[in-house]
Symmetry: C2
Subunit: 487 residues, 2 copies
């Protein structure tokens, strides 16, 4: 690297390390340094530029966080062959926790050659970029600047029509387009639900454990969250009914298929019973459907709770983050008619409307039937990964006392640890050996003031960002960790 | 119209009316039918195509809703000379009100040959689509699927750096990139502020009148809003201090430049005094900057309150909707250091992160210095419109007893009506004559339980969506309305 090219501007008063990071970023962008090239050592660069070594180290850290370079232990800092964004594979659950250790886990602290089984989002390598690009071009050809105007708060009408068809054909849900509210990602669906339905103090019942990002929303709204243990067939409905009798909730929040983190799916009977309770006691169910169509054997039957909903008890959130691309920030909300007005008002005051350009591109995507082949591709890709990883687990980990239920779909596995191990212990040891995963402790307690210790007897392994050949090595690392800990 | 050109594809299973709407839309885009041309009657088209008349009617309705055609009573359906998107020109203030009459006003009820001085957003005709398209292409070439991964909740670091430079060079605001939170449009900036700062019952002081979409957010959060009259130099600060002494607010919300709807700009002295009060009584100021850089004479000095903020009292929202493209849903929030954590958590639980692809494209847009020439173009374009319209007003309306303060910037004019007229009367009569505008009554009262009558002595005229030659006709209509009403 030609260090003489690095010029640190004196005109701005931004910190020196940021100026240096800028200069280095520019060098990478201008191809003055090439992918794979080693950057100067911290000492050498600090000597040459006459700056503090800590400044160089900080600049390198930023570039690493942004994905421009990678640090290899004992060897140096190397330019990456493309910018892997720092946030590229963040898991909302981990993100929403905001704990710095977990941020570290997802970012810098994953060892350079490490395996990422923490991330819950498919690798950008699998995104249908080429197709999507041509659809975006087509939208711009057709609509010009009109693609970038404000949209209706409920969503662009032709996109909602495409979503209606998709809900009917792919999920067996029959709705009118007036029931469809376009949202900027599934997280917004939870936020809008809180705004439309919850006042401070309103009780909400959730599964235990559950997605942390949902709890944050309910808490921020001043709700009292109460949890009911999730069994492999759904919530313990006896407990649920007693809770409801004690205090009728405004909302029950569930992830009915391949739940995050447990991977459990509700049985048809449990869903039927839940609907019955909702009608009997007059509450709504917020169903968060992350990836019900990512199954590896039979399609789940019913596809989701919403498909069974005849009385308008279910508000349904459909994310496109997992099966299309998370950065699009796009999703669909199905809203029972009496609640439409409240949701539209909530949407309007939240962000007026969702990006209309992206709605137009995804409308074409659905209408041109790109989606079904993509789902087939994802099922094949992840199905193969899933089968190979459970085979490794059965061979190597089950004999050591770990157990799990094969979810037959979704992107996660939920392993129950032997009694003498906690998720956090396994997480630390695995991370040191080059494998990132999520310990149960991350999910915490739903009851804000709960004095109970956080449960920590499981780990979540995700195959979302796993490369084809990494599975055996990952399970080998886990085997080592568990064998060592056992001694 | 050559109906034989209409071919309804048989391969897709989308409803027939949508296929027909698609085919007709294509004909309009390909100029097979020309603006002003009459489409075949429902009966004739249904006969020719051998489809149900209801199918044709439904297709026409969709095209009308999308703005491609307009139906004239008793005459037929005509092709419009441009696609006025259904949502394309909605004013967030009107949107946020949600009153169906006002929706009508912005949409279908604007007479076919009408003039739209209600819309607060620039016409899509003015959007820099060509430049933006090539920047999007460049992002996709460079980053591929990584452009569509999750971003960091605070925003993509290089974009935040570009925003930092922009804030410093264009607005005279010096911040570090850690102070910058990327948001999905200015409305989200208000929503995040409410989440980060307000608990149920917290008092918020606002200008009277003010942007309705802000009130909705504060109300949804359970805040008590109190208003202080806005004078042409800013809030009445004597009244403000007494209100603050009675109850210290958590937040004071202001639009310091070319306020919506009054067009008033705070004087430097008033801003200085407001900052002083914020420090003395310990509250935060939420400054909503819609378009401080759209000035037609001298640049405002200071550019905004944030540029004067030395104690970290000001949370600053910067929209790109007006000066770039509203559909991008992108903005910047400047957050004082002690509040960063609360804002980041609020962002995460609201929508995890803003679309990273759009952030990348706008990063290039700023970095390649597209923005300054665009602002110059907009200043020239709107400056000319502004000068011609105030000349018309001075000549035709001022003699009739209307008065106003020339704002010398922004997209609106705020006309004070003679005593015998209300804004709503003028609005109805103007609409009937083909001119859409916004009456003061729309802005309502900030105090939820206020028994006071809504003020209605002004009208807001916007030049945002006005075509160059429409100004004189618009003011002529107003002149007629006022002369007639006087009798």
């Amino acid at each position: 690297m030609r260090i003489h090219r690095i010029i640190l501007p004196e005109d701005s008063d931004s910190p020196l390390y940021l100026k240096l990071a800028d200069a280095l970023r520019r060098s990478i962008l201008l191809k003055e340094v090439t992918p794979g090239e080693r950057l100067p050592s911290i000492r050498r660069l600090s000597d040459t530029l006459n700056v503090n070594p800590a400044t160089v180290a900080a600049a390198y850290r930023i570039l690493e966080r942004e994905g421009w370079v990678t640090a290899r232990a004992g060897s140096g800092v190397y330019v990456m062959d493309r910018p892997v964004d720092a946030g590229g594979n963040l898991d909302p659950a981990v993100e929403a926790l905001g704990a710095s250790t977990l941020m570290d886990l997802e970012r810098g602290r994953i060892p350079p050659q490490g395996i990422n089984m923490a991330a819950g989002t498919p690798s950008p390598r699998l995104f249908p970029v080429t197709e999507f690009r041509s659809l975006m071009d087509e939208v711009l050809e057709r609509d010009g600047g009109w693609a970038f105007g404000y949209q209706e708060s409920t969503g662009w009408a032709p996109f909602r029509e495409a979503l209606r068809e998709y809900a009917e054909s792919a999920l067996g849900i029959r709705v009118s387009i007036d029931d469809i509210q376009v949202i900027s990602g599934a997280q917004q669906g939870i936020d809008l639900s809180a705004k439309a339905l919850l006042r401070s103090g309103d009780p909400v019942i959730v599964e235990r454990p559950t997605y942390r990002g949902a709890l944050s929303v309910f808490w921020s709204r001043g709700s009292d969250t109460v949890s009911v243990e999730l069994t492999p067939q759904g919530m313990d409905l006896g407990v649920l009914e007693r809770r409801v009798q004690a205090q009728v909730p405004r909302l029950v929040y569930i992830i009915s298929r391949y739940q995050n983190p447990t991977t459990y799916s509700w049985s048809a009977e449990a869903l039927e019973k839940l609907l019955y309770l909702a009608e009997k006691y007059n509450f709504y169910i917020l169903e968060d459907d992350l990836l019900s169509d990512l199954y590896y054997g039979k399609a789940p039957e019913p596809s989701c709770l919403k498909a069974m909903d005849r009385q308008g008890r279910v508000i349904y959130i459909r994310s496109f983050s997992k099966v299309l691309m998370p950065g699009l920030r796009l999703g669909m909300l199905l809203v029972p008619p009496p609640l439409r007005g409240a949701y539209e008002a909530a949407k309007r005051s939240t962000d007026i409307a969702t990006d209309g350009f992206i709605q137009r591109a995804v409308e074409l995507y659905l209408r041109r039937s790109y989606h079904i082949p993509r789902l087939q591709f994802l099922r094949a890709h992840y199905g193969a990964l899933y089968r190979s990883i459970i085979q490794e687990i059965d061979t190597r980990l089950v004999p050591l006392g770990l157990h799990y239920l094969p979810p037959e779909g979704g992107l996660h596995l939920w392993l129950s640890l032997p009694d003498h191990l906690t998720g956090s212990q396994v997480h630390s040891a695995a991370l040191a050996a080059g494998l990132a995963l999520i310990p149960e402790a991350v999910y915490g307690n739903a009851e804000i003031s709960s004095g109970e210790k956080r449960a920590d007897s499981h780990i979540r392994l995700s195959i979302a960002a796993l490369e084809k050949d990494e599975g055996p090595r990952a399970i080998e690392i886990l085997e080592d960790v568990i064998r060592t800990r056992r001694v």
